[in-house]
């Protein structure tokens, strides 16, 4: 007798999430499995949708500022920077140079803290607990530094239209320099502990291949794109703020796998430190707020787009103004959404265990995807 194998019957459906620890948030991925192999993966979004775009249509420009700290809570300052940048472009307010430097210093610190958290959490996903504690120890110093000037530890709301809310102190400057020294000393330790570890390498090498062609098709940005050999960084390709004045490199790896994305982020940390050091050296004196910022920001009729490079990639804001105190439309282009979309394609035919390391290497922050 011939036994016909019904594939449908043999497939196993597995929900990864919404409470899976390695999705780092409420993301659900429906996996259709054939044994240990993934036949299809379908991300299901919307569990933490908070209507950030709609809120922008109901609040005045200044009232929308706190929202920016909450779209992507791990690189809140980049989002702050993007929003104030967009409104400043629309209204023609020019922040003083000192404010621009402070913005870049704090944003790069925020990028470091985001990468450190990602580093710890990624290795934790793959089963290594200790590096997580070390990276959190380092990250804690950044949080303390940023808390001392912004007043919050995670969901910063520090930039204002035309400047920043508070000047930085000498303590902050010495603290930042000391921290950079410390992190420079610790990065080789991370390398010995993780980057050179054979178990780690075996789990990330040649896993989650994103071809440059696929990356372009899906609009992947950030370290995930640079891990596929494409040199694209908003800070260089569409420079804003004081980035043209500082000297830094864009690390690129062409392995296209999770290991390349990992290495890109580790190298980026060094570049961020270089940017901070140069900005601290060049920090001009002067006010931190533009002299004439109207109490009620009312941009003229029109629209504008402003993009920044966050820790996860290209984040852009499109604002349409109808000349009133409230935006007519605010559109947020978040990097995580595009970076996650590619997951369905790259995980097809791979092993279930690799899904974790692929997903982790994309550095997803779910609130930013759902927003």
């Amino acid at each position: 007798m011939k036994i016909e194998r019904n594939l449908e019957e043999h497939s196993l459906y597995l929900n990864m999430g919404p409470q899976h620890p390695s999705t780092h948030g409420v993301l659900r991925v429906i996996l259709k499995l054939d044994g240990e192999y993934i036949e299809e993966a379908e991300p299901v979004l919307g569990y933490i949708h908070r209507m950030h775009e709609k809120m922008g249509e109901n609040r005045t420009y200044a009232q929308y500022l706190p929202n920016m700290g909450r779209v992507d809570y791990l690189s809140a300052l980049s989002y702050n920077q993007c929003y104030v940048g967009a409104v400043e472009r629309l209204t023609g307010i020019a922040p003083p140079p000192r404010a621009e430097y402070i913005r870049v210093i704090t944003t790069e610190l925020n990028r470091l803290s985001s990468h450190l958290l990602w580093f710890g959490a990624y290795v934790l996903d793959l089963g290594g607990f200790t590096p997580f504690l070390y990276s959190f120890d380092d990250r804690e110093h950044i949080l303390d530094l940023l808390e001392s000037i912004t007043g919050s530890r995670l969901t910063y709301c520090y930039f204002r239209f035309g400047g920043v809310s508070k000047d930085i102190t000498d303590d902050f400057i010495t603290g930042t320099r000391a921290f950079i020294k410390r992190l420079r000393m610790h990065l080789p330790m991370y390398e010995t502990l993780v980057t050179k570890n054979v178990i780690f390498i075996n789990r990330v090498k040649e896993v989650g291949i994103i071809t440059p062609e696929a990356a372009r098709r899906y609009g992947v940005t950030g370290p995930a794109l640079r891990g596929s050999g494409i040199k694209y960084d908003v800070r260089k390709n569409e420079p804003y703020s004081i980035y043209p004045e500082v000297d830094f490199d864009i690390p690129v790896q062409d392995g296209c796998d999770a290991l390349s994305r990992y290495i890109v982020r580790m190298l980026e940390m060094e570049q961020s430190m270089r940017i901070i050091e140069q900005a601290l050296d060049k920090l001009p004196e002067g006010p931190v707020m533009a002299p004439k910022v109207p109490k009620k920001v009312k941009p003229p009729k029109g629209d504008c787009y402003f993009a920044v490079e966050t820790a996860r990639g290209d984040f852009g804001i499109y604002i349409v103004s109808d000349g009133t105190e409230t935006a007519y439309r605010i559109k947020l282009r978040t990097p995580g959404f595009s970076n996650l979309s590619i997951f369905a394609e790259i995980s097809r035919g791979t092993l279930l265990q690799d899904a974790i390391s692929t997903m982790g290497s994309l550095d997803l922050v779910i609130p930013e995807i759902d927003r």
Partner: protein, 145 residues
């Protein structure tokens, strides 16, 4: 790489890793035992807002203009004020802060024309019901006195 070669490099990388963690064993502790030990919070910490009293007169600095109520993105402030008999200025009857929806953004503090509100350094907040976080700041300030 040969089978034994792999075992060798694997063992070396593991021992190198163990060396790092071993060193950490002899380094000073960085954590504190929270309820028993606490660390100082920075002066810039943003706790829930509280009313500022005028040192000289002992009254609240608030001039009851209502700007904070208007500016708050989360609509969590509602103030009631009245003009007492014979007085020239309005005085606060109640200043309700719904702390459950406050995002500690600071819009109210920055927008206040009389510098009448500031952030407190109160971070030990826990409660059993939502109502415990509807603060009447007038009452709280009086109780503290």
């Amino acid at each position: 790489m040969s089978y034994f070669g792999e075992i060798y490099t694997g063992a070396v990388s593991l021992i190198a890793g163990l060396g790092v963690t071993g060193k950490a064993l002899f380094q000073p502790t960085v954590t504190v035992q929270y309820p028993w030990e606490t660390i100082d919070i920075t002066p810039t910490f943003r706790g829930h807002i509280e009313l500022v009293t005028d040192e000289e007169t002992g009254n609240f600095k608030c001039i009851c203009c209502g700007l904070c109520q208007l500016n708050c993105p989360s609509h969590c402030i509602s103030i009631k004020s009245s003009k007492p008999e014979g007085a020239k200025k309005k005085a606060l009857d109640s200043y309700m802060l719904n702390f459950t929806t406050c995002s500690l953004c600071g819009t109210c503090v920055e927008g206040c024309p009389a510098d009448a509100i500031k952030f407190s350094d109160d971070y030990n907040l826990a409660g059993f019901s939502r109502e415990e976080f509807y603060f009447d700041l007038v009452k709280r300030a009086r109780e503290e006195k």
